[in-house]
Symmetry: C2
Subunit: 131 residues, 2 copies
Amino acid sequence: MIRMTLNKGLQFTAVDDTGHRVVVDTDTEYGGLDQGIRPIEFLLVSLGGCMGMDIVGILQKKGGKINRFEIVLDGKRAADHPRRYEKIFVKIICEGDYRQEDLARSLELSRDKYCGAFATLQNPPEIEFSL
Amino acid sequence: MIRMTLNKGLQFTAVDDTGHRVVVDTDTEYGGLDQGIRPIEFLLVSLGGCMGMDIVGILQKKGGKINRFEIVLDGKRAADHPRRYEKIFVKIICEGDYRQEDLARSLELSRDKYCGAFATLQNPPEIEFSL
């Protein structure tokens, strides 16, 4: 569960069940305080974190040694409101001692079997509101 | 753009274009350090932040005064891997001096017209990978 509280302007703080928190914010010209990542970009944070953890974990189980691992994500937004992400680009940068085919296989396993964020982004959940 | 770097264990730090950063983490039993919100829950952070900013902004433009505003989000995950969110629950708590119909209308406008995170979660983006 995530509880989000309005701070000031349009800035929110999100807190999870065990007290981890993050500031979500927007541009000052839109009424934010520019002190946190933008809401829609947290979709990229979710996808990158989920797939990154999968890939690193699987590659290490296959005996790979990782010295540096990064995921860079970007989204192409629609021109018109609601400006959804039409396309998301995910680039994986992995340095270390591992077999390239094991990295490719780890990515496939995350995408096709393990990553809940990817699966949610590809199979729309029902969303229910209450006021 | 979001750049995510592996820290230690399965913990990542995500950074946006202007340097805002957030830790993404998982349970210690899975190899994390339990110092940040879980990857899939950032989908809720994204949705709640995006809709929260819309609703607060629209309600204020309609003349509403808000004393306290919270969004509580939870997800029902599938039993089997990849354990996607099958359903997401969004509860809005708004205290202040406003008309209930204006709050309901603000929610509708966010859902149907303005919220890019909601629209992305309801219309799957293409996701392209590169290694």
